[in-house]
């Protein structure tokens, strides 16, 4: 019965799209190839198409769950998986409820007390007692109490390691939404994280995520970002510096759509100086983020110095509402840097984007006269190159 049900769905409307796409990939769907392809190579506004498909998939979601309840065997899953790329995608989106299910399986097995548990940082003891009373009859009873609050100081990668230690820790890491309130992906996970992985991690926040910062994540697409933000309407700080698949157009579109759906709480946006920001983009962003342009200017902001990599180490440092502004020299909307050099301090003419004023990669001061070019074609001022060379002599 379940099989017929799904067939009827496939044959109804989506068949056309299915065929088109699967043909172009010769029927073989590989996540790697898709990752390598540009999101919209011919400017066909694929995003909208995908949004449409995604919407359709969401409609299917309910039906699929129904199927799941009807206990389709593994063989049937395989059948679906082979149907088409669309089905493959559908399966991927469907993994979330499944992964939750498997997570709770580990937690609940032989440990009934965990059902529906929610651990707050104040109830560290609870985490500990849970780790203690593992299913094999309290073998891990003497776990150090420090582990409980350690978890709240760990990055994503360490949390994932912790989740593999034992069943109860797996449950804790997967179910404690507070651990996922701030998701910050940078080195070394930035090159590895995929849309699927990010979606799964953000799901763990159960919609309570407040800060999302993905740095140099070249695999994350605009569609993924849209999904994450739709599912986590509480996000206040958003940072996407160096995410090459996310364009300013896409970003503005996502925020605009969220705003019109009444789901936009983002107050701090870190773009990392996306390419091609126009005045329209900038004005719309100010509007979307509720920034009063005049107020924004009068607030004395901490000076920002040019430095290798991105200025902010953690989301606590993100205090500006928007990291770009108009560079007075080239009149483009970019990240504008202050000059730390004594004789330039506070001078407007040395406040400019990195293209207008060459800056030392070490200290961020403007370079006039003597400088040295590093191996990576970056510049070092004479002071810093001396400092850096001293230990070598």
């Amino acid at each position: 019965m379940a099989l017929n049900f799904s067939h009827s769905h496939v044959s109804e409307k989506p068949m056309k799209i299915t065929e088109g796409l699967s043909e172009s990939h010769d029927g073989v769907f590989s996540a790697d190839i898709v990752d390598v392809l540009p999101s919209d190579p011919f400017g066909m506004d694929m995003n909208n198409t995908f949004t449409a498909i995604t919407g359709w998939l969401e409609d299917l979601q309910a039906d699929y769950r129904q199927c799941e309840r009807d206990e389709i065997g593994d063989g049937d899953h395989q059948l679906f998986a082979r149907l088409s790329i669309i089905w493959n995608n559908a399966m991927r989106f469907q993994e979330f409820p499944e992964s939750h299910w498997s997570g709770s399986l580990f937690g609940f097995e032989g440990d009934g007390s965990c059902a529906g548990s929610f651990v707050s940082p104040t109830s560290v003891d609870k985490v500990m007692s849970r780790v203690g009373e593992s299913s094999d009859g309290g073998e891990n009873a003497n776990v150090h109490p420090a582990l409980g609050f350690c978890l709240y100081h760990l990055g994503v990668k360490d949390l994932l390691s912790v989740s593999m230690v034992c069943k109860s820790l797996h449950t804790t890491v997967c179910d404690d939404s507070l651990l996922w309130k701030h998701i910050h992906i940078s080195q070394p996970l930035n090159e590895k994280i995929t849309d699927e992985a990010l979606l799964r991690l953000t799901e763990r926040a159960h919609g309570t995520m407040q800060c999302l910062r993905i740095v140099d994540c070249s695999k994350i697409t605009e569609d993924c970002l849209r999904k994450v933000l739709e599912r986590n309407p509480q996000v206040v700080k958003l940072g996407v510096p160096g995410c090459t698949r996310i364009s300013i157009d896409g970003l503005v579109r996502i925020l605009r759509d969220l705003k019109s759906a009444g789901k936009l709480k983002v107050k701090h946006l870190e773009t990392g100086g996306l390419y091609g920001v126009t005045k329209d983009h900038y004005d719309e962003l100010l509007d979307l983020l509720d920034i009063d342009n005049n107020v924004n200017k009068t607030i004395i902001q901490k000076p920002r110095y040019y430095h290798r990599g991105y200025t902010f180490a953690s989301c606590d440092d993100v205090v500006r509402a928007l990291d770009i502004e108009m560079c007075r020299k080239c009149e483009n909307w970019r990240i504008v840097y202050d000059c730390p050099a004594e004789d330039c301090k506070g001078k407007e003419e040395c406040r400019a984007c990195s293209l207008c004023v060459q800056r030392c990669v070490q200290c961020g001061r403007c370079i006039n006269g003597v400088y040295e070019e590093t191996f990576c074609l970056e510049f070092l001022c004479s002071g810093c190159s001396k400092l850096l060379k001293l230990p070598l002599v």
């Binding site: 580990f106 109490p145 420090a146 582990l147 609050f149 709240y152 994932l160 390691s161 230690v165 109860s168």
Partner: protein, 160 residues
């Protein structure tokens, strides 16, 4: 002459520190604000060895903050070096044996010293493998092989 605060360790030993140093601990800060620090603050769950370290940490960070303040108008080029110096100091500071590190963690948690708590937690856990974590906290693996494979698969993207 700044005001002095007296801590009393679990062994009953007294430690006199400047108020500025004590203010690094949120818990003590609250007590000072509530004006109930006269006659010393008994810390029944912090032993002398740990307390000495905690005070060292607070002192260093108060000094570093003061130095940064004083140099704010100075050359910022060296500001970066100061940061590096403090980081190196922190790294040296947590090169202690595990029981003491645990005690420091608990003390930092109790006294609410965010910097120290963060530092100790990270030292303890950052970059540790699953096996190492099991070893540090004496946790026995309770996964069956199949379950472990499942969890590994779930996180495979991050560890490949």
């Amino acid at each position: 002459m700044s005001k002095k605060i007296i801590f009393e360790s679990s062994e009953g030993e007294s430690f006199e520190v400047d108020e500025a140093v004590a203010l690094e601990c949120q818990t003590i800060k609250n007590m000072i604000e509530d004006d109930c620090t006269d006659g010393g603050i008994p810390l029944a769950n912090v032993n002398s060895a740990t307390l000495t370290k905690v005070i060292d940490y607070c002192k260093k960070h108060v000094e570093a903050a003061a130095a940064a303040e004083a140099n704010a108008g100075d050359k910022d080029i060296y500001g970066a070096n100061k940061d590096i110096e403090l980081k190196t100091w922190d790294e040296e500071f947590v090169k202690v044996d595990q029981p003491l590190l645990f005690d420091l963690m608990l003390a930092a948690n109790f006294l609410i010293i965010p910097g120290l708590l963060d530092l100790t937690c990270k030292t303890m856990m950052r970059g540790k493998t699953v096996l190492q974590i099991r070893e540090i906290f004496h946790i026995k693996k309770d996964y069956t092989d199949a379950e472990e494979a499942e969890v590994r698969k779930e996180n495979a993207w991050a560890f490949e």
